[in-house]
Symmetry: C2
Subunit: 389 residues, 2 copies
């Protein structure tokens, strides 16, 4: 298989932007991604595009991919909308990588978008609910906070994970996000505030939950030949893994792990010929604080059941052995569903290039992204490394 | 690039099935596809799946791919929902081919589904409309019949295409579909009936329009190594092309051609090292009779503006030089949106293997499928040939 390189990546600001459309947000990300490339890239050279969106609000439910690529001037290039709920653009990245590996593209675009803040609470619940299992979760009234609260409750019961350990995820990610000018909730929060916030779905409170956001993201990937033309600071995509799981949480044997994360991670590690111990930093899918703790375990960063102790150890802080969510994560940076996966890639791109400004951590050379759809119905994991093959 | 083979394909019956769900219909297609393979294939060997659906009715708008692959027992294999409106499963097939070409899969599943007949006319118009351009087509009240009627009117004005020529498409496809036990509207219609049917959007009448249908489809594709294990009657996928066009018809320079069809076809011909003259038969996207005439021209079967004369010549009848829509096409076989592209592949599979029963045409060795999303916002074209590479 051919080697694949990440040559450009950017996101729009994530937040609440009542004056923007899905098209204007996507254009902001796309132009940013083109400008982030060291060399000059004529956009007409992009061979194929894959755009992730859940289509929240139903703005352009059909042809939601071509509708944004035409807006940024990619007339004619094949574009496919990819939907795997919150893992939409992580899955889009995988398709773009596959196109380069197959040789059907030399340069491919992966991106995503979502507009979520211009609707009522009831509409938002509907549009988030559509990624739950229909009959026995959404239509029975279960929200995503409700689904993840079951996981949190089970993890606390089985492994003694504490309220404080959950809140430490929020405190860490807000501290990171406060240094990210593109974050939706770019402010710090104290451990006390995080622990004592209003309940949302017990045991999860307001600070355990990510916001719903507007935003877009875009990444340009290329074959080695093209990458050598465009940059002297290469980032190689060394591993790609994806897996599916039962859409409904209630259909899975355990509430305290996400099998699709374990499988996608193993595929990505095998693909990259590395193990979890070789990862320098990660952007993981912390839609809820418990989701980040589950990710630590399912990605192999710590042993099963030890995630609470792991966050408490400081390992995933910026000065720890494996910083997680330096961008602020979904919790602070925000979670515009279809944009999230490639938004994670944007942070990895910035960190590996030393362009993360106030939140830059030096000495990182291998990063991982972990993007979850629904409560684990689809998961995409990718691994990125500095340097040529 | 590695060679790719079509080893199995099937569709559910297309029609109105109030007792079926999207999952039961998909299972029918999937089981049929597995059973259509000459050898035995353990479904756990399927490495990756791509499922096309527009999600009409909003049943499982998020994770609409994994929701059906889990139902047929593909637990864990990566599955991605692909959406390109009515070209959803044509695009899914392309992704599956790319995965085999890249070597990330040895065996891949492409399929699609839609349930459309259990809702009101108003809901149906909404769900079809979402693949039109939102602001200036759907929200302005333009239906798809309205969009295609503009193309028909323009083609009649520019090239002298007649009412009778449009109707000959319907008569041919109904005659073919009457021999297809899986067709939704499996009855013949006379030229007189087709010409004098109730107006829908002038100049298009009821017999110029395909039905909305329930149905599903599935195709199993494989690398050469696996294909040699599974069959002695190989069908090689020799060409894949996909292109995008402006989502809104009003944004394109001409009403009488679909640029994305021309581009996707040229890519597929180049990929296959053939020309239009080398195609023995085709399944084209006749959502409206005018769409089949446009396809003749844009695929290069006849000269620009000559499609009316071409249908009149009988060239595309079963005993003509290039039979088109032997299955009955969307017009008679039906059009369950996400299922249509791989439904076309099913007919090519049956014809090339001599399994098309009453509608079998002998001596065919190279077939083409043409799948259009919206009014041309996305188009996928694939070419299939008997024999090993």
């Amino acid at each position: 298989m051919r080697d694949v390189y990440l040559v450009g990546a950017a996101q729009s600001d994530f937040g609440a932007f009542p004056r923007e459309s899905y098209r204007s947000l996507f254009a902001e990300a796309f132009v940013g991604a083109i400008e982030s490339i060291d060399g000059e890239l004529d956009k007409s050279r992009i061979d194929e595009a894959f755009i992730g969106t859940l289509g929240v609000g139903g703005r352009q439910l059909g042809l939601g991919g071509p509708a944004v690529t035409e807006h940024v001037g990619l007339n004619g290039a094949p574009c496919t909308r990819v939907e795997n709920a919150c893992a939409a653009s992580g899955s889009a990245l995988r398709q773009a990588i596959t196109a380069i590996r197959a040789g059907t593209a030399e340069i491919a675009l992966a991106g995503g978008y979502e507009v979520m803040t211009d609707m009522s609470g009831e509409q938002t619940r509907y549009w988030l609910g559509v990624s739950g299992e229909t009959e026995w979760e959404r239509m029975a009234g279960t929200t995503f906070a409700g689904v993840y609260s079951q996981m949190a409750d089970a993890h606390m019961g089985e492994y003694g994970t504490t309220r404080e350990q959950l809140s430490r995820v929020a405190v860490k990610n807000h501290a990171n996000g406060a240094k990210n000018p593109q974050a939706h909730l770019g402010f710090e929060c104290s451990l006390e505030d995080a622990m004592n916030a209003t309940a949302v779905a017990d045991p999860l409170n307001l600070y355990d939950c990510c916001p719903t956001s507007d935003g877009a993201s875009a990444a340009i990937i290329a074959s080695e030949e093209v990458a050598r033309e465009l940059t002297d600071a290469p980032i190689r995509i060394i591993g790609s893994g994806q897996a599916s799981g039962r859409v409904g949480l209630f259909q899975r044997p355990s509430l305290t792990e996400i099998p699709a994360t374990r499988s996608a991670a193993q595929q990505a590690y095998n693909d990259a010929s590395v193990t979890a111990a070789d990862i320098d930093f990660a952007e993981v899918h912390d839609c809820f604080t418990i989701a980040e703790l589950l990710a630590y375990e399912d990605l192999g960063f710590c042993e099963k059941g030890r995630a609470g102790a792991y966050i408490e150890s400081g390992a995933t802080l910026p000065d720890g052995s494996l910083p997680v969510n330096l961008s602020g994560g979904l919790k602070s940076k925000g979670h515009p569903i279809g944009a999230t996966g490639v938004g994670q890639v944007t942070e990895v791109f910035k960190q590996l290039r030393g362009e993360a400004e106030d939140r830059q951590v030096d000495g990182l050379s291998r990063g991982l992204t972990h993007n979850v759809g629904g409560s684990g119905g689809a998961v995409a994991v990718h691994i990125f490394e500095e340097g040529w093959a």
